[in-house]
C-alpha cells in the first residue's frame, strides 16, 4: 500500500462522492459578464453589421458617380446599314445635312429611295475625354443575501446526479497554472481507465498539431452557385438630349444569370475572404413606341441620315425608325462576363445553425458584349452593327444571403438576392455610357 493509500478511509470516499454530486446554478449575471468579456464590442459590431453593406453599396454608387462622365459631344459617324427587303428605307445621307422634321410629322418629307446598303460604323477617331460609361440598361446562487440555493439532496438513496457528462473520479492530465510552471498530475492511487475514444472525429495527432476543432474551423469552404437574374435597366441619357422627342421608351425586364465556383477562407472570427471563378450574363431590352426621327445627331437633334452606332441606343436610347408608320422598336443587347471575384463576407450565426451572410466586393472580369441589334418588330426591319466589344472590366457585387445546413453536416444551402453592377463602361473608347446592372436571386450549395 502506497503512502497515500493509508490515508484513504471512509471519510475521504464520502467527501469525494458528495462533492461530485454537488452542483449549483449560478446567477445569470455570471454569463452576462463572461459574454461581455468574450464579445466586448458586440454593440459596435451590431452597427457595423448594418452599416458595412450600406457602406459598400455607397462606395459602389460613389464609384459610379466618380467615374461618371457627363457626356460630351460625339462626332458624327456615317450611317450605313443593311436593311433587309422592305418598303421603308432611310434616305441616304447627303453630306452632313441636318433636316429637322416638323413636329409630329417627322417623316413627312421623307422620300423613299432605291434600296441602299446602310452600314452603321463607329468613328474610332472620335475624341474621348474619358471612358464614356453608359448604362445599358449587387447549481443555484440566490442573489439575495448571498445565501446560495443549493440543489436539495433527496436522500442518500436517491441522490440526483447533475446533468453532466459521465464523470471521472480521477484524471491524469496536465494542469496549466498562471504563475507556477505547469506540472502533470498523477495520482498513483487511482489510475483511471483510458477514456473511450470519442465517436466523432478523432484527432490521433501528436502533440503540437492543431486540434480537430481548430482544423475544422480553418478549413476552406466551397460553394457551387447559380443565380438567375433580371435587370431593369434605367436608361442613361447623354447630355444634349432631352425633351422634345415624341414617343415613349419602355424598359422591359430582361433576363440573365450568373454561376460559378467560389471558395472562402476564414480571416477572423466572423470574416471571410472569398474568390473563385464566375460567369455572368446580362441582357436588356428597351421598347420604344411612337414616332421617332430617323436618327439623332451629335447635338441630340433629330435628323436624317447620319448618326453613329451609339446614337441608336445609348446616347439617346431611342430606337430609330425611318417611317412614321413604325409604331415601335426594340433595342436589345447582352453582356457576358467571365472573371475572378474578390469578396469579403461577414457571417452572423443564427438559430438552428443558420447563418446570415453579407458578401460584397468586386471582380476582375473579361467582358464580351454581343452584337448590338436594333429590331423593329413592326416590319422586320433592323439595323445591325457588326462590331463587338471585348475588354477587361469589373463587376461590383453585393449579396446578402441565408445559409442553412442540409442533410449532411458538411453541406449547406445558401440563397439570397444578388446585385451586380458593371463599374466601367462597356465602350471605353467612345462617348458611350453603358454600365448594366442586374438584380437576381442566388442559389448555392456549399460544402466544407
Amino acid at each position: 500500500m502506497s503512502e497515500d493509500q493509508q490515508y484513504r478511509d471512509e471519510l475521504e470516499k464520502m467527501l469525494q462522492e458528495e462533492a461530485d454530486l454537488f452542483a449549483l446554478k449560478p446567477s445569470e449575471k455570471v454569463w452576462q459578464k463572461v459574454n461581455k468579456e468574450l464579445h466586448p464590442h458586440s454593440r459596435e459590431k451590431y452597427f457595423i453589421r448594418l452599416a458595412l453593406p450600406i457602406l459598400l453599396a455607397a462606395l459602389g454608387a460613389g464609384g459610379y458617380l466618380v467615374l461618371h462622365h457627363h457626356g460630351k459631344e460625339q462626332a458624327p459617324a456615317t450611317l450605313t446599314g443593311q436593311i433587309p427587303g422592305n418598303n421603308h428605307q432611310a434616305s441616304p445621307p447627303s453630306g452632313n445635312s441636318v433636316n429637322k422634321p416638323p413636329a409630329g410629322q417627322p417623316f413627312a418629307n421623307a422620300q423613299p429611295a432605291s434600296p441602299q446598303k446602310i452600314n452603321i460604323v463607329a468613328n474610332p477617331k472620335r475624341k474621348e475625354s474619358s471612358p464614356g460609361i453608359s448604362i445599358s440598361r449587387q447549481g443555484n446562487i440566490a442573489t439575495s443575501a448571498g445565501n446560495p440555493q443549493i440543489n436539495p439532496s433527496p436522500g442518500p438513496g436517491s441522490l440526483k446526479k447533475p446533468a453532466t457528462p459521465a464523470r471521472e473520479k480521477r484524471e491524469p492530465p496536465a494542469l496549466q497554472t498562471d504563475s507556477a510552471a505547469a506540472f502533470t498530475l498523477h495520482n498513483p492511487r487511482l489510475v483511471p481507465p483510458a477514456p473511450p475514444t470519442p465517436k466523432t472525429e478523432t484527432v490521433g495527432a501528436p502533440a503540437g498539431r492543431d486540434t480537430i476543432a481548430v482544423k475544422t474551423a480553418r478549413r476552406p469552404q466551397w460553394e457551387l452557385y447559380f443565380a438567375p437574374s433580371g435587370s431593369y435597366r434605367f436608361l442613361h441619357l447623354a447630355k444634349g438630349t432631352g425633351s422634345g422627342f415624341p414617343g415613349k421608351l419602355h424598359d422591359n425586364v430582361s433576363s440573365g444569370f450568373s454561376a460559378g465556383l467560389q471558395v472562402k477562407w476564414h480571416l477572423s472570427r466572423q470574416w471571410y475572404f472569398a474568390t473563385g471563378l464566375q460567369f455572368s450574363r446580362m441582357q436588356y431590352a428597351i421598347k420604344a413606341s411612337g414616332a421617332y426621327p430617323a436618327y439623332i445627331n451629335a447635338s441630340g437633334a433629330p435628323a436624317y441620315g447620319q448618326t453613329g452606332r451609339n446614337s441608336f441606343f445609348t446616347v439617346n436610347n431611342y430606337a430609330l425608325s425611318t417611317s412614321a408608320a413604325i409604331s415601335h422598336a426594340a433595342l436589345r443587347n447582352s453582356y457576358t462576363y467571365a472573371g475572378i471575384p474578390l469578396l469579403l463576407e461577414y457571417e452572423i450565426p443564427l438559430k438552428k445553425k443558420w447563418i446570415l451572410n453579407f458578401t460584397s466586393g468586386i471582380g476582375i472580369d473579361y467582358l464580351s458584349a454581343k452584337t448590338i441589334n436594333i429590331l423593329s418588330p413592326g416590319n422586320g426591319r433592323y439595323f445591325t452593327d457588326n462590331s463587338k466589344v471585348n475588354n477587361w472590366n469589373s463587376l461590383f457585387q453585393l449579396s446578402p444571403s441565408l445559409s442553412v445546413p442540409l442533410l449532411h453536416s458538411r453541406f449547406r444551402l445558401q440563397a439570397g438576392p444578388e446585385f451586380q453592377y458593371q463599374l466601367f463602361s462597356t465602350y471605353k473608347n467612345y462617348d458611350v455610357k453603358e454600365r448594366p446592372y442586374s438584380i437576381g436571386f442566388r442559389f448555392g450549395i456549399g460544402f466544407q
Binding site: D4, Y7, D9, E10, L11, L15, Q16, E18, A19, L21, F22, A23, L24, K25, P26, S27, K29, W31, V34, N35, E37, L38, G139, I141, G146, P148, P152, G155, P162, A163, T164, P165, A166, E168, E171, L175, Q176, T177, S179, A180, F183, L185, H186, N187, R189, P195, P198, K199, T200, V203, D210, T211, I212, A213, A217, R269, Q270, P349, K351, K352
Partner: protein, 189 residues
C-alpha cells in the same frame, strides 16, 4: 438559443465555440456551469466569490479552448482550470494561512459514524466552514485527487506541510461532522 446545442456532441460544440459563436458558447457554459459552480463553491468563502471564480474560470476556458487536445474528459479539463482559478483567487485575497493551529485536535482512527447520514449540502457546508487553508488542501487531496507533492507545488508549500495540514483538516472535519450528527440525533429525539 442554447437549446439548439443540447444534443450536440463535444467536438461540434467546441468547434463552434472556437468560431466564437455566442449560442455555442452559451450552450457550453450552461452544460458545465452548474458542476463547476459546485467546485468553486467548495473553495471560496462566499457565493459571490464563487461566482467571481466561475466567471474568471470560464473566460480562461474559452480563451484556452484550442489547447484542449481531446485527451481526457472535457469536464476534467475544465475542472482543473476552475481549481487553479480558485486557488489563485485565494492567494490573491490572502485567505491562506499557512500555519494553522487546531485546538484540541483529535485523531480519528475509525471512520465517521454513519448511523445518521450527512446530507449532501450539509457536507459541503461543513467543508466550507473549515479554515481556508484546510479547506483547500482537503478539497485538493480528498476530492480532486492531487498528491501532496502536487499540492505543495500548487500552493507553494512543502510536501510535509501539505500532509500535516491535511491530517489536521481531516481531524477537524471529522470532529465537526460528529458534532453535527449528535445534534441531529438530539433533535430527532
Amino acid at each position: 438559443m442554447a437549446n439548439n446545442y443540447d444534443k450536440t456532441d463535444e467536438a461540434t460544440l467546441i468547434r463552434d465555440c472556437l468560431r466564437n459563436k455566442t449560442a455555442a458558447q452559451k450552450a457550453f457554459y450552461e452544460r458545465y456551469s452548474a458542476g463547476m459552480m459546485g467546485v468553486c463553491y467548495r473553495y471560496v468563502k462566499n457565493p459571490a466569490d464563487a461566482e467571481d471564480v466561475l466567471q474568471e474560470g470560464f473566460i480562461k476556458v474559452f480563451t484556452r479552448l484550442e489547447q484542449y487536445r481531446f485527451s481526457g474528459s472535457l469536464e476534467g479539463w475544465i475542472r482543473r482550470i476552475m481549481v487553479t482559478t480558485a486557488i489563485n483567487h485565494l492567494k490573491k485575497n490572502r485567505y491562506f494561512q499557512q500555519n494553522l493551529e487546531i485546538e484540541n485536535a483529535i485523531e480519528v482512527s475509525a471512520g465517521v459514524q454513519t448511523d445518521q447520514p450527512v446530507q449532501n449540502k450539509d457536507m459541503i457546508e461543513t467543508i466550507r466552514a473549515l479554515p481556508p487553508g484546510y479547506r483547500t488542501i482537503l478539497n485538493l487531496y480528498a476530492v480532486e485527487g492531487y498528491s501532496h507533492k502536487e499540492i505543495g507545488e500548487l500552493l507553494g508549500i512543502g510536501e510535509s506541510t501539505s500532509r500535516s495540514q491535511y491530517a489536521r483538516a481531516k481531524t477537524l472535519l471529522s470532529k465537526m461532522i460528529t458534532e453535527k450528527q449528535k445534534v441531529a440525533v438530539t433533535n430527532a429525539k
